[in-house]
Symmetry: C2
């Protein structure tokens, strides 16, 4: 199991469109085999900053996300709305250890 | 509902002790009223860096965590193991909106 934090900085004028496109991506992503969470979060002090909290049961299922039609559509849709390149940081899971608790 | 990311940088010599103390804190924290998640994560590229992903159903229940006996014990236990001060960043939740999905 692993988690990737995807840090996203969106141009102010495109915040609402970004939220809508990412909600759509969330709905499909949580249906993927091996997906454990796909939380979409907005920084409370800076509404242009988001984090997508992507938990998968393996590196393989996490990598497979980037081949899905919904991810590829999202990537293309949001491309011009980025204020800077996205950054992903991967974490291993200490707690909870049980897959059923994800 | 809100999420706080607590970024923790631990002295290398104390990584294992930090993990054990934080696992204990996790077990009690997920029992708190209003707690939605309390994920403990270790950076895959730098084992001295951790994030605690704390989701609560309100700012009130999130704040109450810091008054619990298990939090206060954890705070005291880990104090000398910090390589730098902890940093918390608060996010509002875009997805999933339904509390039942947390």
């Amino acid at each position: 199991m692993q988690v990737t934090f995807v840090y996203v900085h969106v141009k102010k004028a495109h915040i609402q469109e970004f939220i809508e496109a990412t909600q759509e991506n969330h709905v499909e992503s949580v249906k993927e085999p091996g997906n454990l969470r796909f939380d979409v979060l907005q920084n409370a002090d800076d509404f242009t900053k988001f984090v997508i909290y992507e938990a998968y049961d393996s590196g393989t299922t996490a990598a497979a996300h980037k081949q899905t039609a919904h991810y590829l559509k999202w990537r293309e849709t949001v491309a011009d709305w980025m204020a800077e390149p996205r950054k992903g940081i991967t974490y291993q899971i200490i707690c909870p250890r049980e897959k059923s608790k994800w």
